[in-house]
């Protein structure tokens, strides 16, 4: 049996009276991309910081690349690459100097650093700017350089904390393809936290959703979406919401109704068959319908189902 790349049992972290992470269990296989979803304050960053050896757990235990994060943090650091949420760079250095220093601190010989710089320049894609001071870089360039710095030493496990936040669509697509390449060509295990559900859907082999310090759902994106049912109908309504909700629960084919603001999320076994009766039921109970949409489930629906809120709202 292959040992897990990341393993956590009852991992917990308390700040005074606040329990930021309470009893997280993780078992992430080598070569897996694990998407970690959750709003700010859910315990996502705290979990990552414990796994990266920046923060000590107050309970439970965790190993990364086979080494205990508390007892052997040095061995963990040798094997992980981390790109935290805010690009942590030194504006006074050039991009090349920063990457070289990163390589030196990980004990790479000069020849290996030269080679990695050549390889990573394709990812960074900032041309001659690599020899300019980082203070002159745009936000997107900094994010890409930050990612490159996490990869200089060819880590076994890569932690990416919201790697595409603030990137334009083209840069985001480039980072996605690089994440896929790192995973498929090098077998790198990737722990990806993100607020973009489509990013987790696109990249992750498995997704964990954390809310209030606990993992509330875990599985492949397909498995998670299957929980919701075959189809989702979204109704934006005006009028008495509770009346509408009660009326819809009696419609054939409707499995579940979740009210959130002016929006009703209706799970249906066959959306195409249910959407007509849903429209009629809403009309009959006297509420106004601004929009009625039929679609297949997304991770956002899963998030809504398990946390009671959309991830964007939870973020704000």
């Amino acid at each position: 049996m292959t040992a897990a790349s990341i393993e956590a049992h009852d991992l917990a972290r308390r700040f005074g009276d606040t329990e930021a992470v309470c009893g997280v269990h993780l078992e992430i296989r080598p070569g897996e991309i694990y998407g970690f979803l959750g709003p700010n304050g859910a315990g996502k960053s705290t979990t990552v910081r414990m796994l990266c050896t920046l923060l000590a757990p107050t309970g439970g235990e965790a190993t990364v690349a086979g080494f205990d994060v508390r007892r052997d943090p040095g061995a963990v650091r040798l094997r992980i690459g981390v790109a935290l949420q805010d690009a942590a760079l030194d504006d006074k250095q050039t991009g090349r100097e920063l990457l070289r220093l990163q390589g030196r601190l990980f004990g790479l010989p000069r020849a290996d650093i030269d080679r990695r710089l050549e390889e990573l320049s394709a990812l960074i894609d900032i041309g001659d700017a690599l020899d300019r001071r980082i203070g002159t870089y745009s936000g997107g360039m900094k994010r890409r350089l930050d990612l490159a710095a996490a990869l200089v030493h060819n880590p076994v496990v890569l932690f990416l904390d919201e790697p595409t936040t603030g990137l334009d669509p083209v840069s985001r697509t480039r980072v996605w393809s690089e994440v896929r390449r790192l995973n498929t060509e090098l077998g790198m295990t990737i722990f990806l936290t993100t607020q973009y559900l489509e990013e987790a859907d696109e990249l992750a082999d498995r997704v964990g959703i954390i809310d209030r310090g606990t993992i509330v759902a875990e599985g492949t994106p397909t498995e998670l979406k299957r929980r919701i049912g075959a189809d989702v109908i979204i109704a934006e309504i005006t009028g008495d919401h509770s009346v509408a909700e009660a009326a819809l629960r009696g419609v054939d084919g409707v499995e579940n109704v979740v009210l959130h603001g002016d929006e009703l999320t209706i799970r249906a076994t066959r959306g195409d068959a249910a959407i007509g009766p849903v429209a009629i039921a809403l009309h009959d109970c006297g509420v106004g319908v601004r929009a009625l949409t039929l679609r297949t489930p997304t991770l956002d629906d899963v998030f809504l189902e398990v946390t009671g809120g959309h991830i964007r709202e939870a973020e704000s």
Binding site: A56, A88, Q102, R116, E119, A122, E185
Partner: protein
């Protein structure tokens, strides 16, 4: 078939590239290298550090030379003042502000995510400080030589003079790093110069000890800078004086034990997993 361009880059094997533990010396050299590279990129931090000692040297000499020499308090006031200028040049010049910037900007955390040993994160900065302090003492010494100051101990004495000044600068910097690491606050680091005032002025900076009276004489007796200045002055004015040099070394060591203990404790507090 030979592949070219980015495709060729992508298929290069990575297998041989593996991170490995490094030596403490390697870590110090890596951290120091970065810090030294940053020095010329921050002229705003270096230029005042050079101007202040030159200013005090010129003003003090202009104001007190005739008085002190005519009253036979000192024989050569320029030579008497050169160590003061050197102490001004070497005190409080540090990378502590840059360290605070690293802490606030998250780069310090990035360093903590590498396998670098924690002590070299401080020692590397001190090495860079030593480079800067030596670089600052050279023009001040050259100014003194240009104005006619001569070292009784010759070129070796100049070297010992620079070593004492550099060591003093490092030991004093322990205070600024302790503040930087403890607070992570640029305002707190900038206010560290308050520590410098009693060290620099409640001593024999302007007049010899026998000319000081009352409380100032008492404070100067306990001020380590008094013994540092005496050691430095002996190299310029009187020749090799083992006792004066030993006392200067002991004064530097006493300050160093306190300041570096504080800075190491602050470093430990910041990097220990909590």
């Amino acid at each position: 078939m030979t592949e070219t361009g980015s495709e060729a880059v992508k298929v290069m094997p990575h297998d041989a590239i593996v991170a490995r533990p490094t030596s403490t010396f390697h870590d110090i050299a890596s951290v120091a290298g970065r810090a030294v590279r940053a020095i010329p990129r921050e002229p705003e931090a270096v230029i005042p550090a050079l101007l202040v000692p030159v200013f005090f040297f010129v003003v003090n000499t202009g104001a007190l030379q005739k008085f002190t020499e005519r009253s036979h308090l000192v024989t050569d006031f320029k030579a008497f003042q050169l160590p003061v200028a050197i102490v001004f040049a070497s005190t409080g010049v540090s990378r502590a502000s840059a360290l605070v910037t690293d802490i606030q900007g998250g780069y310090f955390e990035r360093l903590l995510l590498t396998p670098v040993r924690r002590l070299p994160l401080l020692l590397g900065l001190l090495v860079a400080d030593l480079v800067l302090i030596v670089a600052l003492t050279i023009p001040v010494i050259l100014l003194g030589l240009a104005l006619g100051v001569r070292f009784k101990t010759g070129p070796v004495g100049v070297l010992v003079f620079m070593v004492l000044a550099g060591t003093w600068g490092l030991c004093f910097n322990g205070f600024t790093y302790a503040i930087a690491l403890k607070t992570g606050n640029p305002a707190a680091v900038n206010s560290a110069f308050v520590i410098f005032f009693p060290f620099a002025f409640l001593t024999t900076a302007f007049l010899p000890k026998q000319a000081l009276t009352g409380w100032l004489a008492a404070v100067a007796t306990w001020n380590p800078v008094t013994y540092l200045l005496a050691g430095l002055r002996s190299l310029v004015l009187t020749g090799w004086d083992g006792r004066a040099l030993l006392e200067a070394g002991a004064a530097i060591a006493a300050v160093g034990v306190v300041s570096l203990s504080l800075s190491i404790a602050a470093l430990k507090s910041r990097v220990t997993l909590r």
